[in-house]
């Protein structure tokens, strides 16, 4: 329950207060070095060797996980989990792609061994992933200018790049969108790479603050890294138009910045792998040097297998070779070599024409379901809301998520009154929405948008 998550978070560790029940004094196997003395209601332990972890406090609960936990604890039948960043079917079940099952069966039949992959990962996977991203015929591929290494999904790939930036571009800053995926900041913080934000989301239009974005990128010190979402921006669902991408590329080139793409939804946004790679290919066509992190969590549903890649587009094959060698040096003391299973699945699916075709069809189906649900939600909102508010932003957004424009009080109302679970920034995951629930959700949104502040005098902390 949400409240218990809070209380865990606010409890600081009091080293000498130990629950007496847990001490098992005098029983066999108990710690011979602990002596307990009772002082009224508090049991003190005098350890011969006090723990060196006493000063460690509880880490804050994950904002997304907290949502799922609260959802699980809710017993109301109408409850809806729109916090989840994972695709669900119309029946709101997780979905393992048929082509993935096929690939895994093939792999099992073949009896592939479980030997270590090289540090850079499965060669067949690396080749396939770079070609998927840039197109097999692209000059950067043909001229071997891309250093690709398999990474632990998007997170791991981003982290490798961040570590490379810290090591070889000391002092360089990364600019991230406001807002962005919550873990981006953690990654750059832990990699000790300084970051700042560029304007992105405009709450007034529930759209892109393009002028602000360009201005902030322009203002950044030359040679900064600019983190861009290749498609289906998380959490807003708001992507630049093709014309805007051109202008973004212009200003980045003008300031000699280094683009850094996070591509977590290729194929999953529009339904087309090529279309979703358009922004990346625009930059590649210009001969720019840049980074691209990829993930197969969503588009192949391989979430838990942790499969992705970091690509560094360089100006020469020689540079690419050197960059690759240094990425390996970063990976080795992190995890030695990447996990094989997900990589094999991708390589098998992409490497077989029939399976590749099946994958594209399933991806279109998933993206299609989300688009359908978007449309139904929009239609429901328009037909139910008599205020004349413009809900078209929902149709303009793309991908798994929609930024509803609801503020915290309104989001709280969604949960407290309607049992709709979402993140406090107003983000809903359409991947967790079924056609059957669209009307209910529309009612909840309309009520929250117009009435939330009437119901609750002060916003309730979730």
């Amino acid at each position: 329950m949400a409240s218990s998550m809070l209380s865990l978070g606010s409890t600081s560790l009091l080293p000498r207060e130990v629950n007496k029940d847990k001490l098992k004094l005098g029983t066999s196997g108990s710690n011979p070095f602990l002596k307990a003395k009772s002082f009224s209601r508090v049991t003190m332990t005098v350890a011969v060797k006090p723990s060196r972890f006493e000063g460690i406090t509880m880490a804050p609960p994950d904002p997304i996980l907290g949502v799922s936990e609260a959802f699980k604890a809710d017993t109301n039948e109408l409850k809806l989990n729109l916090g989840v960043g994972a695709y669900r079917t119309e029946e709101l079940q997780p979905y393992v792609l048929n082509v993935v099952k096929k690939a895994e069966n093939l792999m099992l039949e073949r009896g592939d061994n479980k030997e270590y992959l090289p540090i850079e990962g499965l060669a067949a996977f690396n080749k396939a992933t770079a070609e998927l991203l840039f197109g097999a015929g692209h000059p950067v591929i043909k001229e071997q200018k891309v250093a690709t290494i398999q990474g632990l999904s998007g997170t791991g790939s981003l982290r490798l790049a961040a570590a490379l930036i810290e090591r070889y571009f000391p002092g360089a800053k990364v600019l991230i969108s406001a807002p962005t995926w919550g873990n981006h900041k953690n990654i750059f913080n832990d990699a000790k790479v300084p970051w700042s934000e560029y304007r992105y989301y405009d709450p007034k239009t529930i759209g892109l603050d393009f002028e602000g974005m360009i201005a902030d990128i322009k203002e950044a010190p030359e040679g900064s890294f600019i983190l861009l979402h290749g498609c289906a921006h998380n959490p807003t669902g708001i992507d630049p138009t093709p014309e805007q991408w051109v202008k973004i590329a212009d200003v980045i080139q003008e300031k000699n910045h280094i683009p850094f793409f996070d591509v977590a939804y290729q194929g999953f946004a529009s339904g087309s792998l090529d279309e979703d790679a358009a922004s990346v290919r625009l930059f590649a066509d210009r001969g720019m040097e840049f980074f691209v992190a990829q993930s197969y969590s969503k588009n192949l549903g391989l979430y838990a297998e942790r499969i992705g890649a970091i690509n560094v587009v360089c100006s020469s094959a020689d540079a690419a070779t050197r960059v690759k060698s240094q990425l390996k040096r970063i990976a080795r003391p992190m995890y030695s070599n990447p996990p094989v299973h997900g990589a094999r699945i991708v390589a098998n699916v992409v490497g077989d024409a029939a399976m590749f075709g099946e994958w594209k069809a399933e991806m279109e189906m998933m993206a299609g379901r989300i688009k359908t649900v978007r449309q139904k939600l929009y239609d429901s909102l328009v037909s139910k809301d008599k205020s004349g508010k413009d809900w078209s932003f929902i149709l303009k957004q793309i991908g798994m998520f929609s930024f509803t424009g609801l503020n915290k009080a309104q989001s709280d109302n969604m949960t407290n009154k309607w049992h709709v679970y979402m993140t406090k920034d107003g983000r809903i995951s359409l991947a967790g929405l079924s056609l059957a629930k669209c009307e209910y959700l529309a009612d909840a949104i309309i009520d929250s948008y117009h009435n939330a502040l009437l119901y609750w005098e002060t916003p309730i902390e979730l």
Binding site: K24, S30, F53, I56, G156, A304, P333, M334, S336, V340
Partner: protein, 333 residues
């Protein structure tokens, strides 16, 4: 972010004992990790974050990646004596001196069994003495256990060093790997555990371990963990695994015996006792880099230049060839 709960539960039983009070009392902070490397790295990062002024004492020699791991975690390193080249065994007095001279409360990296690369392990009695000295010095023991079951063929036996420290009341850390003992190399399955004072602290420490993992890879890969939990969670499969791990360990032990006998039969004047005294996957031969180079260039035998030979690569089919080659390059020394 903590990975497969089932897999972690079973993994802790292997290290701490099926009936461990620490498991019952929920005193162990544990997360699934990216095999042994990932577990060590997570611990190193944890050490850096919460004991920023600490160093790590690493044995000489050790698996080379240990140095990379603590270096990239930005934890300063010191070394302690371990291998005795003259005896091709343990430099026990050197080790104890270094433990004694280290500042109180230092962090030490220990190989639980089948030391990599030397194959030289302390005896039970020596482990007890080390543990006592650690207690006196209030040192923190971090065990890297990459070969449980694979060393002697008996997982409980191979965890003896850890059990000794636990009996003596130490709060230890452990890195465990299924790369070798379940052959899951490329799946990257392992576990990091830290024994805490109580359940509350274990929950707290675990939350911080997860906090470190999140910006590194978010959550660990599923497939290998599922294999482990399926095997260890089913009594028949677990029993089958124990048999298979013993077969693997026995094959290597058998090869050690055969190699030593072959070398002695060839009339080598040198002592080859260390072939069978050392344990685990590796034989620290004592061959010089020059001798190693000759083995490669003249006999097409590939090994690391520190003289370490992976016994896993030795078979009944090639042991004779290997013995002969070693004899040839060493007979004049």
């Amino acid at each position: 972010m903590g990975g497969s709960v089932k897999m972690v539960e079973e993994t802790l039983k292997l290290a701490y004992g099926d009936d461990s009070e620490f498991i019952k009392d929920k005193r162990i902070a544990a997360v699934q990790a990216l095999s042994g490397t990932g577990a060590c790295r997570l611990f190193a990062d944890f050490q850096k974050r919460f004991c920023p002024s600490s160093q790590i004492y690493i044995p000489v020699p050790t698996w080379s990646n240990h140095h990379n791991i603590w270096r990239d975690a930005d934890v300063p390193q010191k070394t302690y004596h371990y291998y005795h080249p003259e005896t091709k065994g343990l430099n026990f007095s050197g080790l104890m001196d270094d433990v004694k001279n280290a500042p109180e409360g230092s962090f030490f990296l220990l190989h639980a069994c089948a030391h990599n690369p030397t194959g030289v392990d302390p005896t039970d009695e020596q482990w007890r003495e080390i543990s006592q000295l650690f207690k006196a010095k209030k040192h923190f023991a971090f065990f890297d256990m990459a070969y449980q079951g694979f060393a002697s063929g008996d997982p409980a036996r191979d965890a003896k060093s850890i059990r000794i420290f636990l009996e003596d009341g130490h709060h230890i850390g452990i890195s465990q790997s299924y790369a070798k003992n379940m052959g899951l190399y490329g799946q990257r399955v392992g576990c990091l555990s830290v024994l805490c004072a109580d359940e509350k602290q274990a929950v707290t420490v675990k939350s911080q371990l997860q906090q470190l993992a999140r910006p590194m890879y978010s959550n660990p890969p599923l497939h290998g963990a599922q294999i482990v939990s399926t095997i260890l969670g089913d009594p028949e499969l677990k029993s089958l695994w124990l048999k298979e791990v013993k077969i693997m360990a026995d094959r290597i032990i058998g090869m050690r015996t055969t190699l030593r006998e072959s070398l002695e039969k060839l009339g080598s004047p040198l002592s080859w006792e260390h072939v069978t005294k050392q344990i685990g996957m590796f034989w620290y031969s004592g061959l010089t880099p020059e001798q190693v180079d000759r083995l490669t260039s003249e006999y097409h035998i590939y090994m690391t230049r520190n003289g370490r030979i992976s016994m896993a690569g030795v078979t009944t089919g090639n042991v004779g060839y290997l013995a002969n080659a070693i004899h040839e390059v060493t007979k004049s020394s």
